[in-house]
Symmetry: C2
Subunit: 208 residues, 2 copies
């Protein structure tokens, strides 16, 4: 319960929460920092340091109460009780895949809209959601209380879409377009860049 939480710690928190869910399903009551670290690819010291940013969750000599810790981490991550309302912009293959991706709905992310600018797609259904017209973005964001948006449009329109979303009041963006988006610093922006990931693989294949 101290200072600034490292980005890497936040990332691991998600992994801890997921692994704790598995342990919980297996009926485990307590888990040591060492085993929890093992389960997500790190070590006990790292686990203890990560958790120490928030609270004292453990019992010396025993370990961490699995179910309790999982719930606390879910709350810290903002996926405990509340649900985030998410819009997807770009109803191409990737956008459609994400809307149907069960991992998201199991967590507390609820897709409330999918938008596109292609008249051939508008009005069709994707996983039960009707594709809306991107020109209605502003109205949809406010009427549906969208707080998070996923951008899966082509790179040349990504910045424009980001601007529209921010203007409409969306506070967090998950961007799949291979573009550097410029947004106001109080907007939470995260990029998933598949080409960069593959090039990372490629680099390590060559240099080994």
């Amino acid at each position: 319960m101290k200072k600034k939480v490292p980005q890497a710690t936040v990332h691991r928190l998600s992994l801890y929460a997921r692994y704790l869910g598995e342990l919980e399903a297996q009926g485990e009551d307590y888990v040591s920092s060492e085993r929890l670290g093992e389960g997500v690819g790190t070590n006990g010291a790292q686990v203890r340091k990560d958790l120490s940013f928030f609270d004292r969750f453990g019992i010396p000599g025993r370990g961490y109460p699995v179910s309790f810790l999982r719930k606390r981490l879910a709350n810290i991550l903002g996926v405990g009780d509340r649900v985030w309302r998410v819009a997807v912009v770009g109803a191409g293959r990737l956008g459609a895949a994400l809307v149907g991706y069960s991992v998201f709905e199991k967590q507390s992310f609820h897709f409330v809209a999918i938008l596109d600018n292609d008249p051939g797609k508008i009005g069709t259904r994707v996983n039960g959601l009707e594709v809306g017209d991107i020109r209605d973005l502003r109205g949809i964001v406010s009427s549906q209380n969208v707080e998070v948006a996923v951008i899966t449009v082509p790179v040349h329109s990504a910045q424009q879409v980001a601007d529209m979303l921010v203007e409409a009041g969306v506070r967090a963006l998950l961007n799949f377009a291979p573009a550097k988006l410029d947004v106001s610093p109080h907007i939470v922006l995260r990029n998933v860049d598949l080409a960069v990931e593959l090039e990372g693989l490629s680099f390590h294949l060559i240099n080994s």
Copy 2:
């Protein structure tokens, strides 16, 4: 041209290469480290340090020759001349989306196979590729010279699929399943975990 290249540097190298491509298309001949950094969201000092791991590419007083540097970075990343043959395992929505994702083919990643275990999918076509039977994985990997695989199967079969791929001779894995895969240390493994990304957004939304 010194010591171990940081992971973060490899990541930025991809971004530099992409931005240089844009500059090249605009007909720019030279670019300063400062501008190149600006273009990918970092600064000139970082750019110079990153590049210094490999060679002296720049001309003091002038900057970096755009086209030359782009080509050299592409080669360093392993996407310059050669083509990587990629198989996708899991022909669900996400797998299908990735096979059709133009960003990959534009880079030097060529999808040569998509596999699934669902009889209802085997034999159908996804973006021109016929879905193969996962039981033929070993044969397909060797006959098609697959070096890189993308895993888009459900979490409960991800480890098994990874084992099969490694056993068959694949050297690099891009894993989209929310699972910690155990693979031999000489296999290049990279995880894209969409739930973790969303939880990262969620955390920062709550804590700000």
